[in-house]
Each structure stands twice: as structure tokens, then as C-alpha cells.
């Protein structure tokens, strides 16, 4: 029986990388837990309230989206709508074309990766450069992004130094400080040359139209200081009802993601720069991206749209800790990715139908989630969907159960099996050349068979 793809990937990882992913996720998770419980009287109530706010948002998008749009427009922001990934890419391209712009700098946006914006623009002769240090390294390596918070958790300093040398960013030097300074020198020139700064959006307040962005490196600030146009790609679910809700969610976001009280740069943007300000964008565009989100909203897994992309569920997940982000074959990894990626895949759902099985269903992801998403329940619903739709990938790593189902649904066969089952205690099951059984018994010990005794006891029980 074949291994599940995620197991196969984990097994192929060099031990040092697996160890580094494990240690780093474990350390962040422990710091996060300590910080939350040190700081708040009732962190659980806090995250459950945040979850209720976000659930309100997704169940009221019909009124909150037009409300946010009206506020944004009143603030001088041009609002665009993109039903598909292609539409979102075309909207960015259209805005650049209208300005005669050819150079774009990006501050990490997962949506831009989801819609594959960079290859779209590059094919049309435009430059789109990642500016987050980790994402920049991924881009020059032609790797693909697969981690929400620590983009290069899977690369070591030697690999990075080799990439820098290859790209003409100085002679080989694997000191993290030297690597960072070289990136600083190179990227600040790129910011100054760029026509457009593209960002994502962590939140938009429907009350004021404020767009909130968080980064630690300050790359979003640079993208909004040097170029003359700002484009924000925002998933339609990223709204909050009121400004004060930002206070609650920001208190959770930094702590959950990287165990910081606040991320270093938290930006509240309502529009193009002030007329008195010499730097910054003269025009600002927000592109609301659907790209499958409305299908998720219509599904039984709509709670996943509460996600604020903090990565806490990755850090605590026993599967992610062993496998790392690439194992999930999509932009969103870990427990959140195991739910979101197959759903956003639309018709390609069967391609990712194995991901909901990449979980021990231990519940840790739900316990840490700052917006209380019931991820294990959603994984079970998606396993059911995979099975119901007959996706072959949903069955990888599962022994054929047809014979079992037949036996369990026929009382006579069932009784006979129970009665005869004791035989199994005398059979060396590990030696039976039946691959599904071998696969199961390689990591499990069968308990001693004691079946049938209950019925016997029941039958011989004296009647009252």
C-alpha cells in the first residue's frame, strides 16, 4: 500500500531540515502560549470572541463588503473586484499599464502567490520583485512559497549564501548579518526604482475603510514610501466590522504568529498620501479577490474563512513539524492549508484530496487558533467529501475496506467472524504478504483478540 504523499515527502526530508523545522515550530509555539497566559486573564475567552467576530464577518459579507467599498471610495481609494485569479492579475496589469509602470515591488502577500501574479507580469515584460527577505530568497531560487510566517524555514545559511553568490550579491559569505545587509543594499535601490508598491491586507475595517498591514521587516512601509502607486490585493473575507475590533485582533495576531506583543510595523492606511507628505503613493487601489472564496462560503467548511494567517496551527501541528510546508503542495500549508487549499482548488479538488488526511485529528490546531476555527471538524467534512466524490487521492494510504463493510453489514457473517476471530492470535500477521496489512502492522501492534465474549456473556446472563 502506498504511503500518503505527505508521509513520503516527510520521509524524503534530510534529518537536519526536519530537526530545524521541528525545533523552530516548537520554540515559537511555547513562547506564544507563555505570552498569552502571562498577559491575559482569559486568553481562551479572547480567542473565542475573536472567532465570533470573524464568523459574524463571513456570514454578513453581503452587507459588509459594500459598506467597506463605500468607505474606501470616500477615502479616495479605487476599488476593483476580481472573481478569478486571472481577473486579479489582469486588474494589477491594467493599473500598471494605465500608468506606464513596468516595475513593481511586493511586500509579501499570500494572495499574490495564490493567483500566481509574478509569472503573469513577467510574461508581459514587467518586473515583480519580492521584498520580504525570506520571500526574496525564495524568488531568486525559483522555489515556491509554502510557509505562512517563516518563509525559508527549510533553507540553511549555506544554501542562501550560495544563492546570493550565484545572483551576483557578493562573494560567498554565510553570516546571517552579511546576508541581511546585502539584501538591504540591493532591495532599497529596487524600492526607489519601482513604480508600484503591491501589498496584501491583514484587515479592512468596514466602519472606516482602514486597511491594516503588518510586517516585521518594514518592507510594506518601504513599498508605501518610495513608489507612486499602491495596490492592495485583499481576499473578500479580510474584513472586520469596527475599528475597535482591530484592537482585539491585533493583540492576538502578533502573539499567535511570532510571540510578539505587536508586530514591529502595523500600518493603518485610509488612502493615498497626504498632500503635505513628500513620499508615498499618489493613488491607491484595493482589489477584492474572490478566487474560490465564495464557493468556500457556500460550503460546509465556511469557518475556515475566519483565518487571519498567523500560522499558530502550523507550529503546533505534529504533521507539519515533521513534513514542513512544501509537503502540502500549495501556498497555504499546515492544518489551515489542509482545509483551505483543497477548497480553493475548485475543480482541482481531487488533486489535493489527500491533504485533509494529513492530520492526527489531535485537536491542537483548534486549541491554539486565535479565531477558534474547528479545524479537525472541517478536516473530517473534507475527508467525507473526498470519499463521496471518489477522489482517488482521498484513498491513498487507506487499506481497502470493501470486504470489511460487507462483513460488518451481514449479521451472520459478523457473528461467524467474531467467533472465529480468535484464530488471529495464533497467526504471525507481520509475515502475511498482504501489503495493506503489512503497512498497518509495520507501525502498529494488533491487540489480543477478545471478540465474541460479550455476546456469550449476554446469552448466559440470568434473566431477572
Amino acid at each position: 500500500m502506498a504511503n500518503q504523499p505527505i508521509d513520503a515527502y516527510a520521509a524524503s526530508l534530510p534529518p537536519d531540515k526536519r530537526e530545524s523545522v521541528y525545533q523552530s515550530t516548537k520554540g515559537t509555539h511555547e513562547k506564544r502560549t507563555k505570552l498569552l497566559w502571562d498577559h491575559f486573564l482569559d486568553p481562551n475567552e479572547l480567542r473565542q470572541t475573536a472567532g465570533r467576530i470573524k464568523q459574524h464577518v463571513i456570514e454578513n459579507l453581503d452587507t459588509l463588503l459594500p459598506a467597506a467599498e463605500a468607505k474606501l471610495q470616500a477615502n479616495g481609494v479605487q476599488v476593483h473586484w476580481a472573481p478569478t485569479a486571472e481577473d486579479a492579475c489582469a486588474a494589477v496589469h491594467g493599473i500598471m499599464d494605465a500608468r506606464g509602470a513596468t516595475k513593481l515591488v511586493k511586500s509579501k502577500t499570500m494572495v499574490s502567490e495564490e493567483i500566481e501574479l509574478t509569472p503573469y507580469l513577467e510574461k508581459r515584460g514587467m518586473e515583480a520583485l519580492e521584498t520580504d527577505l525570506g520571500e526574496f530568497i525564495i524568488q531568486i531560487d525559483h522555489d515556491h512559497p509554502s510557509h505562512i510566517v517563516r518563509p525559508i524555514i527549510h533553507k540553511n545559511r549555506r544554501e542562501i549564501a550560495t544563492s546570493f553568490e550565484r545572483e551576483g550579491l557578493g562573494d560567498y559569505n554565510d553570516e546571517p548579518e552579511v546576508i541581511t545587509r546585502r539584501a538591504r543594499d540591493f532591495l532599497r535601490q529596487k524600492y526607489l526604482q519601482a513604480d508600484v508598491g503591491l501589498t496584501g491586507g491583514n484587515f479592512i475595517s468596514a466602519e472606516s475603510g482602514r486597511l491594516v498591514l503588518v510586517t516585521n521587516e518594514g518592507n510594506s512601509r518601504f513599498c508605501l514610501a518610495a513608489p507612486k502607486v499602491h495596490i492592495a490585493l485583499v481576499g473578500i473575507e479580510k474584513l472586520v466590522p469596527r475599528d475597535r475590533d482591530l484592537g482585539l485582533l491585533l493583540n492576538l495576531l502578533g502573539r499567535s504568529a511570532t510571540a510578539q506583543q505587536l508586530t514591529v510595523y502595523t500600518e493603518f492606511i485610509t488612502g493615498p498620501k497626504s498632500p503635505t507628505q513628500p513620499d508615498g503613493p499618489e493613488e491607491m487601489h484595493v482589489i477584492f479577490v474572490d478566487n474560490g472564496r465564495t464557493e468556500v462560503l457556500a460550503s460546509q467548511c465556511r469557518e475556515i474563512l475566519r483565518c487571519i494567517r498567523c500560522g499558530a496551527c502550523l507550529n503546533v501541528c505534529p504533521i507539519y513539524r515533521q513534513a514542513s510546508g512544501h509537503a502540502y503542495r500549495s501556498v497555504y500549508p499546515g492544518p489551515v492549508g489542509a482545509v483551505l487549499s483543497p477548497l480553493l482548488a475548485g475543480k482541482q479538488f481531487p488533486e489535493l484530496a489527500d491533504l485533509p488526511k494529513a492530520s492526527s485529528l489531535c485537536g491542537a490546531c483548534n486549541e491554539v487558533c486565535p479565531v477558534d476555527i474547528p479545524i479537525p471538524d472541517l478536516l473530517l467534512r473534507l475527508r467525507d467529501k473526498g470519499k463521496t466524490e471518489g477522489a482517488p487521492k482521498a484513498s491513498i494510504g487507506v487499506p481497502p475496506m470493501g470486504g470489511w463493510a460487507l462483513m460488518a453489514s451481514q449479521p451472520t457473517a459478523w457473528k461467524a467472524a467474531l467467533a472465529g476471530g480468535k484464530v488471529i492470535n495464533h497467526i504471525p500477521t507481520k509475515l502475511i504478504p498482504f501489503p495493506p496489512l503489512q503497512s498497518w502492522t509495520s507501525s502498529r501492534t494488533l491487540p489480543e483478540w477478545r471478540g465474541g465474549s460479550f455476546r456469550k456473556w449476554m446469552k448466559n446472563r440470568p434473566s431477572k
Binding site: L41, L65, H80, W81, A183, V264, P272, P278, T294, E295
Partner: protein, 205 residues
């Protein structure tokens, strides 16, 4: 053919139509986000608390102008940018060994060792500085020099994040800055000064 906007809103409506009821918007009490160790009594010296918090995120509070000028000189930071509105107030403390410009030239971003700008506010609980377009004379002047000095007045300090958000001034771009620019992307090792300032100072005025 319907517009992209109508298309998305129709899909949203169709997706929500079968719901028997919608999740209500919960109200919540600010006690929920009170940070235990910084639950701040009204008489607290907010500058003292802000200073302590700023240090905990690797920022540097500076209590007076003479100390700041000495610190700049000791580090060899002799060329910088200063907000033109602040310069008349600060100028007398800088001798001729300094070159301070009040116009920021974006073609020479690497020439400036320091940038001095005013804040729109600060947050004691987190050691955060708040910069705004209407108060910070140049976004690049506060971002590109190695050392950024934010000029803070006591009355501008809010006790916590929520108080600061509730009092956000009218401004198209407000930014909470909590310490120097930093990354831990390379093997989880903390490096400061990735794109923005490697040193974040706050001068009390």
C-alpha cells in the same frame, strides 16, 4: 454581462441565502484585552512605562537632547535629516561637526545616518511609536537612515493599544512602530535593520 462586482456579490448572496440565521456581532469589554502586567493605574508615569517597554523591544529611550547629541557623536552619526518644523527647537544642541538637512533627498538615501521626525502618538504598553503623514515630515526620512529618532511629548502617550486605536487621528497613513526593523528569516537568528532603521530611538520633549 454583469460586472465583476455584481458577480461576486451575487455569489456571496447565494452562499448566505440558505443560512437560517446569521452569527451576531459580539460586543466585548476592554477588560478582555487588558495586559495583566501593564494594567495601568491613572497616576502611572506613562513615559517611564513607555521607556521600559521600548527597551524590551530593543528600542532606546533618550531623556534629553544633550544625551541624544552625545550618542549621535559617539556613534559617528554626523550626517542626518531633521523635520524642518523640529529643527529650530533642536538646532542649538548640534555643533558644526554635524551636517543636518531639513529637505530629504531620496536620491541619497544611504547618505543619512540618522533621521529625526515627530510622532503622532505613542503606546506605553508596547513601547510603540505612532507615525502619521500629517506629523512625520518624510516617510523616507524616518525609514531609510540607520537610526530613527522619534520626538515624543508626554501628552502624546496612550496607555494601551486599544486607547491608541480609539484615538487614531484623521490621517491617510498611520503606522505603529514597535522597535527596529527586524527579521529572523535566516535560520531563526534575529537581525535588526533589514530594510528600515537598525536603531530606533525615542527622544522625550
Amino acid at each position: 454581462m454583469s460586472s465583476a462586482r455584481d458577480q461576486i456579490l451575487k455569489r456571496v448572496n447565494d452562499a448566505l441565502a440558505p443560512l437560517p440565521e446569521r452569527a451576531p456581532l459580539p460586543d466585548w469589554d476592554r477588560e478582555l484585552v487588558h495586559v495583566r502586567e501593564t494594567a495601568i493605574p491613572p497616576s502611572t508615569d506613562l513615559w517611564a512605562l513607555f521607556s521600559e517597554r521600548l527597551k524590551s523591544v530593543n528600542g532606546e529611550p533618550v531623556d534629553d537632547l544633550a544625551t541624544l547629541v552625545n550618542l549621535l557623536r559617539e556613534n559617528g552619526w554626523l550626517h542626518g535629516y531633521c523635520d524642518p518644523a523640529l529643527w529650530p527647537e533642536l538646532q542649538s544642541a548640534f555643533d558644526e561637526s554635524f551636517t543636518v538637512e531639513t529637505d530629504f533627498d531620496r536620491t541619497r538615501v544611504d547618505d543619512y545616518a540618522f533621521g529625526i521626525t515627530a510622532v503622532a502618538g505613542a503606546i506605553a504598553e508596547t513601547g510603540t511609536l505612532i507615525l502619521g503623514d500629517n506629523t512625520t515630515s518624510s516617510r523616507l526620512g524616518a525609514l531609510t537612515p540607520w537610526a530613527h529618532i522619534a520626538v515624543v511629548r508626554d501628552a502624546q502617550i496612550h496607555p494601551d493599544i486599544l486607547a491608541a486605536i480609539n484615538a487614531l487621528p484623521e490621517d491617510p497613513n498611520l503606522i505603529f512602530v514597535t522597535g527596529p526593523s527586524k527579521t529572523a528569516d535566516v535560520e531563526g537568528i534575529l537581525i535588526e535593520g533589514v530594510h528600515g532603521p537598525g536603531r530606533q530611538l525615542a527622544l522625550r520633549r
